[in-house]
């Protein structure tokens, strides 16, 4: 590993050209004779030289890194399988681009904003991902003012100069409602995510609209913070009612699995006494009993698409919104016609 002592000057000398020319050859810039270019590159690789990222960073004012800031309670971050899959998707495209992901996990929104700011101020990243969009999301104007390229997961409800990568989860919720209605359910409830998140309230809105469209009275919705604990508590409340729902649509799989457990604990048979649907089609959903009917999304593909979009924005200066295939209902064993008492 003596390799690290080499600099562009060594390569230039060995090739009998100036440092500038080596740089030009390396960066594929015009003005280098093809033969020369090739010779320089060959010599560089023979010598085992690769340009110093730090030096490049200083002179180009770029970091060749992208940033993701996740604001989640450290205690519950583990229960949401979304981010690991999303990140794996992001990495799969970054790794082929010589770029790297800088990840921050922070406890709250205040720290989240500070982190975006310092990441940019320190020049740690050349672009950022914005996930878990909230209503009137302050990050949009802040990032715009910071002048950093960004991509949002979903379309913000405030004016945004950034490309959005979307997956239509409302379609999935609607499909779940229609599936349950077709089975004969009329008392359908929704255990929703946090209303401050766009995806939380959008799924809830889709649920209510679908219920109306089915000619049913607006089903009950109860908001949660997306955590397993609150999903469990919400289920307990819903099932404690005299006129309890015969089906519950959950905003994510972990809550649905907790709901399944509550039903079992209360002696209700799923799906005979209670039908249940989840959201995300996470790995575990097919391995619970009964296997969970859920709405499939593809977080890894979302990650790939977001990374591509952000890279394009950084290189071309602009990037179109991209819409991923809609979330689709995956019917398994946790839903059935409501049982006769």
């Amino acid at each position: 590993m003596t390799a690290r002592k080499l600099t562009i000057a060594d390569v230039a000398e060995r090739a009998g050209v100036s440092k500038g020319l080596v740089s030009f050859a390396l960066n594929d810039r015009p003005g280098v004779a093809p033969a020369t270019r090739e010779r320089i590159l060959r010599i560089a690789s023979e010598m085992g030289w690769s340009p110093s990222l730090r030096a490049r960073s200083l002179s180009t004012r770029r970091s060749f890194a992208l940033g993701l800031v996740i604001a989640r309670d450290p205690e519950v971050i583990g229960s949401d399988p979304f981010f690991p899959s999303f990140i794996a998707g992001v990495e799969s495209v970054l790794s082929t681009e010589g770029r790297v992901l800088v990840l921050s996990v922070v406890p709250d929104q205040e720290a989240e904003l500070m982190t975006y700011k310092s990441l940019v101020a320190d020049g740690r990243v050349d672009g950022v991902f914005v996930s878990d969009l909230r209503h009137d999301d302050i990050r949009i104007p802040v990032l715009e003012e910071l002048g950093i390229p960004a991509v949002t997961l979903g379309v913000p409800d405030v004016p945004s100069p950034f490309p959005a990568v979307t997956i239509d989860d409302a379609v999935g919720i609607r499909a779940a409602v229609e599936h349950l209605v077709a089975l004969g359910h009329t008392r359908i409830a929704h255990v929703a995510g946090a209303a401050r998140f766009l995806h939380g309230s959008r799924r809830r809105g889709a649920f209510e609209q679908a219920m109306r469209d089915a000619g049913l009275e607006a089903g009950q919705s109860v908001d949660t913070d997306f955590s397993i604990a609150e999903g469990s508590a919400a289920t307990r409340r819903l099932l404690a009612q005299a006129e309890r729902p015969t089906a519950i649509i959950y905003a994510n799989d972990p809550m649905a699995i907790a709901g399944l457990a509550v039903a079992q604990e209360l002696g209700l048979r799923v799906p005979h006494d209670l039908s249940i649907t989840g959201f995300d089609d996470t790995d575990i959903s097919r391995y619970v009993f009964p296997a969970l009917t859920t709405v499939g999304t593809d977080p890894a593909e979302w990650g790939r698409a977001a990374a591509r979009s952000l890279l394009r924005l950084m290189e071309a200066g602009e990037s179109d919104d991209v819409a991923l295939p809609s979330a689709e209902l995956v019917v398994r064993r946790s839903t059935a016609a409501p049982g006769r008492p």
Copy 2:
């Protein structure tokens, strides 16, 4: 945000000193009169100047970043809650140190090694975390030769110059066995993790030893890749036998939850017909039915300890091994005395 145009020269001029002195004051180096130092710092902050990380990186040959490479199948990465919690722990200490985490998720061991190498070659990180230790782990000698500071999660089975941060999970497995034996179980099986991982084979070894110590014949162990799918399949195989076990100890919670589902599907009552224990005490384990008896570990604390250890190594040049509190059994409702047929 005109702040970004400022350089150390601006501050020096305004303070009426040389750039060098500003640098010394900033870095708390001796040779600056306290009063001068204070004045420089005050002026710098008044001007809103913060030193350019890129320039510092180039001259100090440091990146002020730490690296973590995770080799996991993108499809199943989401089902293991370990990493998100671990990372949250790491971040909680890095964020106060002006350091940042560079995360890579790669599909296999080959890519994993390449990634460590390029992270170091590019000077992306000043130190790395080594998780999921394997037998004869090649990463240890490679990282040693690369000359990069590292910390390992657990003690490698090859000579290692790096500090290790350990949690004694064997204690937890032993406690699970003893708990089940005390309840009257004699046919206890183990659904183990992958044997190529140190933690996988260590838990298995602890299981076998504890069985022997209890005077029981070595219980059945079946290796898996830690995935929910294999945990489910292993359970199915174990329960299909004529003399099926009355209790199963799983190497992680997700597999235990899948096992619970298999039992239910087969019409076995848990814990009456089959006792089940998990590992890690993840968030969901208390929200399944019956609530899971499991072995508690603290991935976030592990992350904090590992980060502290690595930082100490980088600053002091050495760092002792640290042993976290042993994994402890958390008894809930999925274990009981074996039911009479």
